[in-house]
């Protein structure tokens, strides 16, 4: 019941986003054909615009787009001729999602233990050391980490392949490059969340009934302290699953992260709106899942 209500509530938001994105890219000056052989005759330009219906009023263009959307048609790409946006997304999205999922697991695998350790040793040397490492992970951009990892482990030591995505081994370097930032964020969030509830009444009660400090932390503090991580997981997964420009560019991975930037640079209208919609729908669905997980973890929360 709750689930279906949330799903229905998504519809107006998605409509709003599609309208906003459509108008944003269409109203801004400049167009997708600006960089093509400029001295094309006005006749040719008119024909191109006619072919893609760019000569109609904006609202009827939007209406046309929406009716296509209902049939799962995101329109033709204006930049990659003969390819539809849906084709490009269908080809790239699974690749980006695989890599994003690996990076997500990596961030949790690294971030949760280090954040837990920091919170358990609050104020001590271990806390500052893990904080420093986590913050450094957040502060060093992926376009620095990536090339350095490739130089060291692919070119010099030849442990991992330099680029491409052919076997699971190929996934390791991109995963680390992509996941480092997020593992830092997860670590900080978990530390803060756990410190926030360390003195809460239910924790004091757990201590008072004689549980050891370790099981108090693991069973009670961690469970509620990881709520900030859970709510961050929605936006984080949406970012990770839709690919990263830097990582896909560096490792020559055929995902959709590259298109996110390139389509905005080349004003490929339909592509931009399509990618925005993919991102938005993903994010909204993930947020619903996050809310469900929230309620399961924290029985005090109710949405009714």
């Amino acid at each position: 019941m709750y689930f279906t209500r949330r799903l229905i509530g998504m519809i107006p938001v998605v409509l709003g986003i599609s309208f906003l994105a459509f108008m944003l890219v269409r109203l801004a000056p400049g167009g997708p054909f600006d960089h093509e052989r400029r001295p094309a005759s006005p006749e040719i330009e008119r024909r191109i615009r006619e072919k893609y219906h760019l000569d109609e009023p904006l609202l009827s263009q939007y209406g046309r787009y929406l009716s296509g959307l209902l049939r799962g048609d995101l329109g033709p790409s204006l930049k990659y001729r003969n390819h539809s946006v849906a084709d490009i997304v269908m080809q790239g999205l699974p690749v980006s999602m695989t890599l994003g999922m690996c990076a997500f697991l990596f961030s949790l695998g690294v971030g949760l233990p280090s954040g837990f350790y920091g919170a358990a040793r609050r104020g001590g040397f271990g806390d500052y050391a893990t904080s420093l490492i986590a913050l450094s992970g957040v502060c060093v951009p992926a376009f620095v980490v990536g090339p350095l990892l490739v130089m060291e482990f692919a070119v010099r030591k030849r442990v991992f392949p330099v680029a491409l995505l052919e076997s699971p081994i190929h996934l390791i370097l991109p995963t680390v490059t992509l996941g480092l930032y997020f593992s830092g964020r997860v670590s900080r969030l978990l530390r803060e969340g756990m410190i926030g509830v360390r003195e809460a009444e239910f924790v004091v009660a757990a201590r008072a009934k004689g549980l050891s400090e370790v099981s108090v932390l693991l069973r009670h503090v961690f469970r509620i302290g990881m709520l900030p991580v859970v709510s961050y997981s929605g936006p984080m997964l949406a970012d990770l699953l839709t690919g990263s420009f830097v990582v896909e560019n560096l490792f020559q991975i055929p995902g959709i992260g590259v298109f996110m930037v390139n389509s905005s640079l080349s004003r490929d209208y339909t592509m931009i709106v399509g990618l925005v919609l993919v991102y938005a729908v993903l994010l909204l669905m993930l947020n619903i899942i996050v809310d469900v997980a929230y309620r399961w973890l924290d029985p005090r929360v109710s949405y009714d």
Binding site: P12, L24, V138, P141, F245, L265, V276, A280
Partner: protein, 313 residues
């Protein structure tokens, strides 16, 4: 970490909130040291143009000079002194970060305050708008904003103002673009605070005395929100700085020959090759960026902890 000692009753009552937070903050060694380092660094960066040994943009024959001797941290591909460029880059990054954070402050606080204070249908619509913007991938928004508006704005600026002013189009777009993608969380935080504050008795008392909405919001509610806002602001600056560095990597950030820390790092990263390693081009700018962001985050964390301890009492 110094735990707050229970203050004598008389003192606790007479001490103002600001004083109490300040006392808590100064008790945190890491935060205080970070704040001191930041202040010194800002001073150094501001004074740097008068004491710099090399010009930041003048080319020389000493290409890729290693650190040491005449060039303390080496030179770049055009033989420019990296230390000087880093100092200029750091001031640029801090400026972009602060300006972007301020833009996000103005939009976020007004949006959140109005939504939270008015409540009802307006609140619902405004926050639904925030939800919609949240689900827009920010990178597409910023890239489209910068690439499309730049030429148009530049022409307009050089017509209406002067050519010199048109040169700063990119900065203005950067400030505005980065600020306009980072105000959403600020708006949510402020709205939440205002929502809980407006039902407190001192607000009701002011209303009974006949105060206008503007007066209540500005004189009674917002002063209680500033603490949280400042804390979040110190955490927004690093994220804006990082975002600018990513834009520099795409070639959409600060324009050469000017530099930001991000554009310096991007330049260094483009020089990574298997034959020769110009490690200083990456190590020093990213080290400085990481150090600055670390200091900012520690200050922000310290401030927040000091504030939260207050709330618990």
């Amino acid at each position: 970490m110094i735990e707050a000692k229970p203050a004598p009753a008389g003192r606790a009552a007479s001490e103002s909130v600001t004083r109490r937070v300040w006392r808590r903050f100064t008790g945190r060694r890491v935060a205080v040291v970070s704040a001191g380092v930041l202040a010194l660094f800002v001073l150094l960066v501001t004074l740097w143009p008068w004491i710099e040994p090399h010009h930041p943009n003048v080319l020389s024959d000493a290409q890729f000079a290693e650190p040491g001797g005449r060039y303390w941290v080496g030179t770049d591909v055009h033989g420019r002194d990296l230390l000087t460029r880093m100092m200029h880059g750091a001031s640029m990054s801090l400026m972009v970060g602060t300006a972007g954070a301020l833009v996000s402050l103005v939009i976020g606080v007004s949006w959140g305050a109005v939504a939270g204070y008015s409540g009802g249908r307006l609140d619902a619509w405004m926050m639904r708008g925030v939800d919609v913007l949240y689900s827009l991938p920010s990178i597409i928004f910023v890239v489209v904003l910068i690439t499309t508006l730049e030429t148009a704005l530049k022409q307009w600026f050089s017509r209406v103002f002067s050519n010199d002013f048109a040169e700063s189009t990119r900065f203005l777009l950067l400030f505005f673009g980065l600020g306009s993608v980072s105000w959403l969380t600020m708006a949510r935080i402020v709205r939440g605070q205002v929502l809980s504050l407006k039902s407190r008795s001192f607000v009701g008392a002011s209303r009974v005395l006949g105060a206008s909405h503007g007066h209540i919001l500005w004189r009674h509610i917002l002063p209680n929100v500033w603490g949280v806002v400042i804390v979040y602001l110190t955490l927004t600056v690093p994220s804006v700085v990082l975002y600018e560095s990513f834009l520099s990597f795409l070639g959409l950030g600060v324009q050469p020959p000017q530099a930001s820390l991000g554009s310096l790092i991007a330049e260094g990263a483009s020089q990574i090759n298997p034959i020769r390693v110009y490690w200083w081009l990456i190590a020093f700018p990213s080290g400085l960026l990481a150090a600055l962001l670390l200091a900012l985050s520690f200050v922000g964390d310290g401030l927040r902890d000091s504030l939260e301890e207050r709330d618990r009492q």
